[in-house]
Protein backbone atom coordinates (compact mmCIF):
# COMPACT_ATOMS: atom_id res chain seq x y z
CA UNK A 1 0.00 0.00 0.00
CA UNK A 2 2.80 2.31 1.03
CA UNK A 3 4.65 1.31 -2.14
CA UNK A 4 1.60 2.16 -4.22
CA UNK A 5 1.43 5.69 -2.87
CA UNK A 6 5.15 6.26 -3.46
CA UNK A 7 4.90 4.95 -6.99
CA UNK A 8 1.83 7.08 -7.71
CA UNK A 9 3.57 10.19 -6.42
CA UNK A 10 6.61 9.44 -8.58
CA UNK A 11 4.38 8.85 -11.59
CA UNK A 12 2.53 12.10 -10.92
CA UNK A 13 5.85 13.92 -10.96
CA UNK A 14 6.67 12.45 -14.36
CA UNK A 15 8.41 9.12 -13.73
CA UNK A 16 6.96 6.72 -16.33
CA UNK A 17 8.84 3.71 -14.92
CA UNK A 18 6.78 3.95 -11.72
CA UNK A 19 3.67 3.21 -13.70
CA UNK A 20 5.26 0.04 -15.09
CA UNK A 21 6.02 -0.99 -11.49
CA UNK A 22 2.38 -0.40 -10.53
CA UNK A 23 1.29 -2.58 -13.47
CA UNK A 24 3.69 -5.32 -12.37
CA UNK A 25 2.31 -5.24 -8.82
CA UNK A 26 -1.39 -5.26 -9.71
CA UNK A 27 -1.46 -7.18 -12.99
CA UNK A 28 -2.05 -10.54 -11.38
CA UNK A 29 -5.10 -9.35 -9.40
CA UNK A 30 -6.62 -7.40 -12.30
CA UNK A 31 -6.09 -10.23 -14.77
CA UNK A 32 -7.43 -12.80 -12.28
CA UNK A 33 -10.54 -10.73 -11.68
CA UNK A 34 -11.35 -10.57 -15.39
CA UNK A 35 -10.43 -14.18 -16.03
CA UNK A 36 -13.05 -15.23 -13.47
CA UNK A 37 -15.66 -13.19 -15.29
CA UNK A 38 -14.74 -13.92 -18.89
CA UNK A 39 -13.17 -17.40 -18.69
CA UNK A 40 -11.06 -16.35 -21.63
CA UNK A 41 -7.40 -15.40 -21.18
CA UNK A 42 -7.29 -13.23 -24.30
CA UNK A 43 -10.38 -11.24 -23.32
CA UNK A 44 -9.13 -10.99 -19.74
CA UNK A 45 -5.83 -9.58 -21.00
CA UNK A 46 -7.61 -7.09 -23.24
CA UNK A 47 -9.81 -5.93 -20.38
CA UNK A 48 -6.77 -5.69 -18.09
CA UNK A 49 -5.14 -3.45 -20.69
CA UNK A 50 -8.30 -1.33 -20.79
CA UNK A 51 -8.10 -0.95 -17.03
CA UNK A 52 -4.44 0.11 -17.06
CA UNK A 53 -5.13 2.46 -19.95
CA UNK A 54 -7.88 4.17 -17.95
CA UNK A 55 -5.60 4.18 -14.92
CA UNK A 56 -2.77 5.79 -16.91
CA UNK A 57 -5.08 8.55 -18.15
CA UNK A 58 -6.58 9.29 -14.74
CA UNK A 59 -3.79 8.58 -12.28
CA UNK A 60 -2.37 12.10 -12.63
CA UNK A 61 -5.60 13.34 -10.98
CA UNK A 62 -5.58 10.76 -8.17
CA UNK A 63 -5.85 12.70 -4.89
CA UNK A 64 -5.10 9.89 -2.41
CA UNK A 65 -8.52 10.39 -0.78
CA UNK A 66 -9.27 6.68 -1.03
CA UNK A 67 -6.86 3.76 -1.11
CA UNK A 68 -5.35 2.89 -4.46
CA UNK A 69 -6.77 -0.65 -4.40
CA UNK A 70 -10.31 0.76 -3.97
CA UNK A 71 -9.68 3.12 -6.86
CA UNK A 72 -8.42 0.25 -9.00
CA UNK A 73 -11.41 -1.91 -8.06
CA UNK A 74 -13.73 0.89 -9.17
CA UNK A 75 -12.08 0.92 -12.57
CA UNK A 76 -12.27 -2.90 -12.68
CA UNK A 77 -15.96 -2.84 -11.87
CA UNK A 78 -16.78 -0.18 -14.48
CA UNK A 79 -14.84 -2.08 -17.13
CA UNK A 80 -16.47 -5.37 -16.15
CA UNK A 81 -19.96 -3.83 -16.18
CA UNK A 82 -19.34 -2.35 -19.63
CA UNK A 83 -18.09 -5.71 -20.91
CA UNK A 84 -21.04 -7.61 -19.41
CA UNK A 85 -23.59 -5.18 -20.89
CA UNK A 86 -21.89 -5.36 -24.30
CA UNK A 87 -21.74 -9.14 -24.09
CA UNK A 88 -25.37 -9.37 -23.03
CA UNK A 89 -26.41 -7.52 -26.20
CA UNK A 90 -24.13 -9.74 -28.24
CA UNK A 91 -25.82 -12.82 -26.75
CA UNK A 92 -29.26 -11.38 -27.43
CA UNK A 93 -28.33 -10.64 -31.03
CA UNK A 94 -26.87 -14.15 -31.51
CA UNK A 95 -29.44 -15.98 -29.43
CA UNK A 96 -30.10 -18.49 -32.20
CA UNK A 97 -26.44 -19.53 -32.18
CA UNK A 98 -26.34 -20.57 -28.51
CA UNK A 99 -26.30 -24.38 -28.48
CA UNK A 100 -28.97 -26.30 -26.65
CA UNK A 101 -27.89 -27.81 -23.31
CA UNK A 102 -28.55 -31.30 -24.62
CA UNK A 103 -25.86 -30.84 -27.24
CA UNK A 104 -23.13 -30.06 -24.73
CA UNK A 105 -20.59 -32.75 -23.97
CA UNK A 106 -20.77 -33.94 -20.35
CA UNK A 107 -17.06 -33.22 -19.94
CA UNK A 108 -17.89 -29.56 -20.47
CA UNK A 109 -20.56 -29.59 -17.80
CA UNK A 110 -18.46 -27.45 -15.47
CA UNK A 111 -17.83 -24.93 -18.22
CA UNK A 112 -21.51 -24.88 -19.06
CA UNK A 113 -22.42 -24.20 -15.41
CA UNK A 114 -19.90 -21.34 -15.31
CA UNK A 115 -21.40 -19.89 -18.45
CA UNK A 116 -24.88 -20.13 -17.01
CA UNK A 117 -23.69 -18.50 -13.80
CA UNK A 118 -22.21 -15.51 -15.64
CA UNK A 119 -25.24 -15.29 -17.92
CA UNK A 120 -27.33 -15.17 -14.76
CA UNK A 121 -25.08 -12.51 -13.23
CA UNK A 122 -25.35 -10.41 -16.38
CA UNK A 123 -29.15 -10.46 -16.01
CA UNK A 124 -29.01 -8.99 -12.49
CA UNK A 125 -29.57 -5.26 -11.86
CA UNK A 126 -26.30 -3.30 -11.89
CA UNK A 127 -26.01 -2.85 -8.10
CA UNK A 128 -26.66 -6.51 -7.35
CA UNK A 129 -24.33 -7.56 -10.15
CA UNK A 130 -21.53 -5.35 -8.83
CA UNK A 131 -21.84 -6.64 -5.26
CA UNK A 132 -22.04 -10.27 -6.28
CA UNK A 133 -19.06 -9.97 -8.63
CA UNK A 134 -16.85 -8.43 -5.95
CA UNK A 135 -17.99 -10.92 -3.35
CA UNK A 136 -17.67 -14.14 -5.31
CA UNK A 137 -14.67 -13.32 -7.46
CA UNK A 138 -12.43 -11.66 -4.88
CA UNK A 139 -14.22 -12.58 -1.62
CA UNK A 140 -14.27 -8.95 -0.50
CA UNK A 141 -15.91 -7.97 2.79
CA UNK A 142 -19.09 -5.85 2.80
CA UNK A 143 -17.02 -2.98 4.19
CA UNK A 144 -14.66 -3.14 1.21
CA UNK A 145 -17.59 -3.46 -1.19
CA UNK A 146 -19.24 -0.42 0.36
CA UNK A 147 -15.98 1.55 -0.04
CA UNK A 148 -15.71 0.59 -3.71
CA UNK A 149 -19.33 1.04 -4.73
CA UNK A 150 -20.23 3.94 -2.46
CA UNK A 151 -23.32 2.17 -1.11
CA UNK A 152 -23.77 1.51 2.62
CA UNK A 153 -22.68 -1.74 4.20
CA UNK A 154 -26.32 -2.66 4.87
CA UNK A 155 -27.30 -1.95 1.30
CA UNK A 156 -24.41 -4.09 0.05
CA UNK A 157 -25.65 -6.98 2.23
CA UNK A 158 -29.25 -6.63 1.03
CA UNK A 159 -28.17 -6.40 -2.62
CA UNK A 160 -25.98 -9.46 -2.25
CA UNK A 161 -28.76 -11.44 -0.59
CA UNK A 162 -31.23 -10.55 -3.37
CA UNK A 163 -28.65 -11.33 -6.02
CA UNK A 164 -27.90 -14.79 -4.63
CA UNK A 165 -31.61 -15.56 -4.32
CA UNK A 166 -32.19 -14.49 -7.91
CA UNK A 167 -29.16 -16.45 -9.15
CA UNK A 168 -30.38 -19.57 -7.39
CA UNK A 169 -33.73 -19.21 -9.15
CA UNK A 170 -32.08 -18.68 -12.51
CA UNK A 171 -29.68 -21.61 -12.15
CA UNK A 172 -32.36 -23.95 -10.77
CA UNK A 173 -34.60 -23.12 -13.71
CA UNK A 174 -31.86 -23.80 -16.22
Amino acid sequence: MHDDNNLIQKFQSGDEKSFDKLVEIHLHNVFGFFLKITRDEMVAEDLSQDVFMKLYKNLKNFRHESSFSTYLYKINMNTANTWITRNKWKNILHIDQIPDRGEIDRTNEEEWKRKELWDGISKLPKKQRTVVMLRISDSLSYKEISDITGMSKGSAKVNYHHAIKRLKEILDDA
Binding site: V23, L27, H28, G32, Q49, F52, M53, I136, S137, I164
Partner: protein
Protein backbone atom coordinates in the same frame (compact mmCIF):
# COMPACT_ATOMS: atom_id res chain seq x y z
CA UNK B 1 -28.06 -20.71 0.71
CA UNK B 2 -24.50 -21.06 2.04
CA UNK B 3 -24.00 -24.23 0.01
CA UNK B 4 -25.08 -22.42 -3.08
CA UNK B 5 -22.71 -19.51 -2.32
CA UNK B 6 -19.79 -21.90 -1.85
CA UNK B 7 -20.75 -23.68 -5.04
CA UNK B 8 -20.65 -20.52 -7.15
CA UNK B 9 -17.46 -19.29 -5.44
CA UNK B 10 -15.77 -22.58 -6.33
CA UNK B 11 -17.16 -22.36 -9.82
CA UNK B 12 -15.49 -19.01 -10.55
CA UNK B 13 -12.07 -19.92 -9.19
CA UNK B 14 -9.28 -20.34 -11.73
CA UNK B 15 -5.69 -21.47 -11.65
CA UNK B 16 -4.16 -19.35 -14.38
CA UNK B 17 -0.86 -17.71 -13.50
CA UNK B 18 -1.67 -14.77 -15.79
CA UNK B 19 0.38 -13.11 -18.50
CA UNK B 20 4.06 -12.30 -18.17
CA UNK B 21 4.35 -8.79 -16.72
CA UNK B 22 7.16 -7.67 -19.05
CA UNK B 23 5.36 -8.71 -22.23
CA UNK B 24 2.10 -7.28 -20.90
CA UNK B 25 3.76 -3.90 -20.27
CA UNK B 26 5.35 -4.05 -23.71
CA UNK B 27 2.02 -4.65 -25.44
CA UNK B 28 0.39 -2.05 -23.18
CA UNK B 29 2.94 0.58 -24.27
CA UNK B 30 2.40 -0.45 -27.91
CA UNK B 31 -1.33 0.01 -27.54
CA UNK B 32 -0.75 3.33 -25.84
CA UNK B 33 1.39 4.54 -28.77
CA UNK B 34 -1.29 3.36 -31.19
CA UNK B 35 -3.96 5.30 -29.29
CA UNK B 36 -1.80 8.44 -29.28
CA UNK B 37 -1.33 8.09 -33.06
CA UNK B 38 -5.06 7.62 -33.56
CA UNK B 39 -5.81 10.66 -31.43
CA UNK B 40 -3.29 12.76 -33.36
CA UNK B 41 -4.80 11.55 -36.64
CA UNK B 42 -8.26 12.49 -35.40
CA UNK B 43 -7.09 15.98 -34.42
CA UNK B 44 -5.38 16.44 -37.83
CA UNK B 45 -8.57 15.40 -39.61
CA UNK B 46 -10.64 17.78 -37.51
CA UNK B 47 -8.19 20.61 -38.21
CA UNK B 48 -8.32 19.89 -41.96
CA UNK B 49 -12.11 19.79 -41.84
CA UNK B 50 -12.23 23.07 -39.93
CA UNK B 51 -9.89 24.67 -42.51
CA UNK B 52 -12.04 23.46 -45.41
CA UNK B 53 -15.16 24.77 -43.70
CA UNK B 54 -13.46 28.12 -43.12
CA UNK B 55 -12.51 28.38 -46.81
CA UNK B 56 -16.09 27.45 -47.75
CA UNK B 57 -17.52 30.12 -45.47
CA UNK B 58 -15.19 32.79 -46.91
CA UNK B 59 -16.02 31.73 -50.47
CA UNK B 60 -19.75 31.82 -49.83
CA UNK B 61 -19.33 35.17 -48.11
CA UNK B 62 -17.65 36.59 -51.20
CA UNK B 63 -20.30 35.14 -53.50
CA UNK B 64 -22.92 37.02 -51.54
CA UNK B 65 -21.46 40.35 -52.70
CA UNK B 66 -21.66 39.45 -56.38
CA UNK B 67 -24.42 41.05 -58.38
CA UNK B 68 -26.71 38.31 -59.48
CA UNK B 69 -28.58 40.33 -62.18
CA UNK B 70 -26.57 41.25 -65.27
CA UNK B 71 -27.43 44.77 -66.26
CA UNK B 72 -26.88 45.60 -69.87
CA UNK B 73 -25.67 49.04 -70.81
CA UNK B 74 -27.89 48.88 -73.85
CA UNK B 75 -31.04 48.68 -71.71
CA UNK B 76 -30.57 52.20 -70.35
CA UNK B 77 -29.42 53.96 -73.47
CA UNK B 78 -30.75 54.47 -76.96
CA UNK B 79 -29.03 53.06 -80.03
CA UNK B 80 -27.52 56.34 -81.19
CA UNK B 81 -25.99 57.19 -77.84
CA UNK B 82 -24.51 53.71 -77.60
CA UNK B 83 -22.72 53.84 -80.90
CA UNK B 84 -21.50 57.40 -80.26
CA UNK B 85 -19.19 56.26 -77.44
CA UNK B 86 -15.43 56.20 -78.19
CA UNK B 87 -15.23 52.46 -77.66
CA UNK B 88 -17.93 51.50 -80.08
CA UNK B 89 -17.23 53.18 -83.40
CA UNK B 90 -19.04 51.29 -86.07
CA UNK B 91 -18.38 51.41 -89.72
CA UNK B 92 -20.35 54.29 -91.21
CA UNK B 93 -20.95 52.22 -94.33
CA UNK B 94 -23.70 50.45 -92.50
CA UNK B 95 -27.02 52.01 -91.83
CA UNK B 96 -27.31 52.27 -88.06
CA UNK B 97 -31.06 52.39 -88.13
CA UNK B 98 -31.04 48.75 -89.31
CA UNK B 99 -29.07 47.58 -86.31
CA UNK B 100 -31.43 45.99 -83.91
CA UNK B 101 -31.44 44.75 -80.32
CA UNK B 102 -29.51 41.60 -81.14
CA UNK B 103 -26.49 43.60 -82.25
CA UNK B 104 -26.61 45.68 -79.10
CA UNK B 105 -26.77 42.53 -77.10
CA UNK B 106 -23.77 41.08 -78.92
CA UNK B 107 -21.83 44.28 -78.38
CA UNK B 108 -22.64 44.17 -74.69
CA UNK B 109 -21.52 40.57 -74.40
CA UNK B 110 -18.24 41.07 -76.22
CA UNK B 111 -16.87 44.27 -77.69
CA UNK B 112 -14.04 42.33 -79.33
CA UNK B 113 -16.34 41.10 -82.07
CA UNK B 114 -15.85 42.99 -85.25
CA UNK B 115 -18.58 45.54 -85.99
CA UNK B 116 -19.05 44.25 -89.51
CA UNK B 117 -19.54 40.76 -88.15
CA UNK B 118 -22.10 42.07 -85.69
CA UNK B 119 -24.10 43.70 -88.42
CA UNK B 120 -23.95 40.44 -90.38
CA UNK B 121 -25.23 38.43 -87.42
CA UNK B 122 -27.94 40.95 -86.86
CA UNK B 123 -29.07 40.65 -90.48
CA UNK B 124 -29.01 36.89 -90.14
CA UNK B 125 -31.10 37.18 -87.02
CA UNK B 126 -33.58 39.36 -88.81
CA UNK B 127 -33.68 36.85 -91.74
CA UNK B 128 -32.57 39.55 -94.16
CA UNK B 129 -29.99 37.46 -95.96
CA UNK B 130 -32.09 35.24 -98.14
CA UNK B 131 -29.47 32.63 -98.95
CA UNK B 132 -28.67 32.07 -95.26
CA UNK B 133 -32.32 31.63 -94.28
CA UNK B 134 -32.37 28.19 -95.78
CA UNK B 135 -29.75 27.08 -93.21
Amino acid sequence: MHDFENKIINLVQNESSGPDAASFILSFRGRQQKEILQTNRLYSSLNALAFILLVCVFTIGQLDHMQSDVEYFAEDINTQEYFDTDFNLIDQAYNLSDIETFTLFMLDESIIIDAEELVFYNELYENIIDDEVSL
